[in-house]
Chain length 204, copies 4
DNA sequence: GATGAATGAGTATTCATTCAT
DNA sequence: CATGAATGAATACTCATTCAT
């Protein structure tokens, strides 16, 4: 961001811009995301947008930062110590679906489509580190030990699998489908319940 | 396509265009996919591109068709009757990774970012129907019965989970990571081995 | 028009664009009328043109509207009540030549070549209705009665005849030729002086 | 034309091209007239078109020459010596309407829209000279004397007036309207019957 | 001669960004 | 500070024309 908003009015302007940007990015994708549209939707002039954000990418960075903070916050509410695997899975799945329901599509666009400004060193990394640590903690807890590198690998696969199922469901508009949810819980629960040894894959 | 290529020369041109388009779409995403770039990469003039494709979307359609045909072909090579679940999972995962290795990222862009020409009735649907049928057959076979609706739901979740893991690995450039592959096999193998009853998810 | 110009600066821009467009359309015809040329002639960037006109046709619509308004205004100045036919004809012809002198050729291009945007219901119609009513009024006045359907038919033929003579003269660059003007007056004056009964034409 | 067609086959090709060109030019106007469309409509390849015509304008020249020849031929059939003015007018009007009925619109496009190749010195002139001579002859005959310069001026105005009425009727699709035809005959007949002196127009 | 594949300058339109008011 | 007018490089697509087969 070009300059920190000092007065309340400025902060409201910045918030409106980030909110409008998130909406447009989620609804229209990266290629439908134009600065003029964002400014109009936020109810400010295009000049004001550039008063606070030096360019388009810095606006995306702000949107991303806000969204990932929200995700981490949602994740922190998950408390699954001591529960049986299936229940842990159910809690997890419910939390993830809730986190994606506010702006379905935004997450995917931010991660997949929108480019990252070269200046800000990859801001996803910080997020992913904490995110995966959380997952790894859950895996380790359900295996009743401290997190190991193997747990981190499992956490990554688990996170990506949930991501894939939810994201495709969002694309089809079937995020609420209970059968899908039940199967996803079964997939994750079974994985958590499984022993820690991975089956080998032969080289191709 | 606007015009069927008659001479050998023009068939080569069309192939070069589709290949260049697939590469650019996979590497640069929908917003980096410009007809001029495709023509240049294919080594032909922009006029030649429009001799065969009436507009940008029809080129995307051709790319999609070719890619989905490749996916289906890869899928058909999977013969898993009578194998234990873990082995089925390993075969499946290897096939899917192979199918995505040629143009990592292309699959996602085609499904998520690139718009579909209104004229061609959704060509993904045909693909998805056959694709999921295949998956459902595998699930049912490993449960030693004919495919049921529940098997179709399981197939969808399984397919999306594999998709998510592979796609995120592709994004990070770690498609070849053996630990990831092993964990993915364990996830899918465990799911296939599990009984057919889904665990319920409480209403939120 | 896409956007109403608020500041004085932008109103000047819009005026310059319409004026430049009229000039180019009249001089170079529809196929020589390119948005880039118009913007350049108006001394503004191509972006500014599209700030006010959503597309090429809307610019043509504005040009047409302005031109037809000018024509109607010129027409309204004609006051011929109680004059002898030859004098009415002279006044009419002088007014029409004056109306076409500013942008000779523009009228024809607007009516014949330039396509009409589908959105605006044919704006020529409104114009033609008022235009012909005026003509019919003149015809009826010179016949000392209220306008009848026959007067409307006569008005149409008269209007088209004047149009044809003036337009061909404009094409040859001889709009100012006094002999042509005199003959045209004689043609129209004689027509107005003639009795109201039309001579029949045998079927071909 | 680039080269004279020697064999019968070549002549047929050239004829097909000219005919297809006339059709397209009349129907779609100058801006819809493309060489590829003409070649396709004529059933020959674009290469063959350029075998006979060095460029687009030379094709237009051929179309124009053929059309004007047809017009002159139609004009030569008019024999009105000794008839009363109204009858002469009726014959004239009928002939002109017939001449425009084959390709309505083509005449206008050739004269107004289509540019003339710089090489061929204005090919319209030759045509117009003979055309106007014919008209002047008719005017003079109805005035029972040899053609004078004043008759030429009258012929020009008369020709342009008829042109204007017919062309606007063609545009509105009302070429067959008998009331219009009758009024046009009355206009021209009255003009022919009038004395030879023109009424003066004051300078503007 | 005939064919049609290939070319590329030109045209309409968008959008990130600047700057005078 | 806020506004919105102005800019112009970039993009999708057309069409006259050439030339290898």
């Amino acid at each position: 961001m070009r300059k920190a908003p000092r007065q309340a009015r400025s902060r409201a302007t910045v918030d409106a811009l980030v909110e409008a940007g998130a909406r447009i990015l989620g609804d229209d994708g990266w290629s439908g995301f134009t600065t003029n549209k964002v400014a109009e939707r936020a109810g400010v002039s295009i000049g004001s947008l550039y008063q606070y954000f030096p360019d388009k990418l810095s606006l995306v960075d702000s949107i991303r930062r806000r969204h990932l903070d929200d995700c981490i916050a949602a994740m922190r509410t998950v408390r699954a110590d001591g529960c049986p695997p299936m229940e842990v899975a159910a809690i997890l799945v419910r939390a993830m679906i809730a986190a994606h329901s506010a702006h379905p599509g935004l997450h995917r666009v931010l991660l997949d489509e929108a480019p990252t400004s070269a200046e800000h060193r990859d801001p996803c990394s910080d997020f992913e580190v904490e995110y995966l640590s959380h997952y790894a903690g859950i895996v380790a807890a359900s295996r009743k030990r401290r997190p190991t590198p193997a747990d981190h690998a499992a956490a990554g696969v688990m996170s990506d699998a949930i991501d894939g199922v939810i994201h495709n469901a969002a694309r089809r508009g079937s995020l609420g489908d209970p059968m899908m949810q039940a199967e996803l819980v079964r997939l994750i629960g079974g994985y958590l319940a499984g022993a820690g040894e991975a089956a080998p894959v032969e080289e191709s």
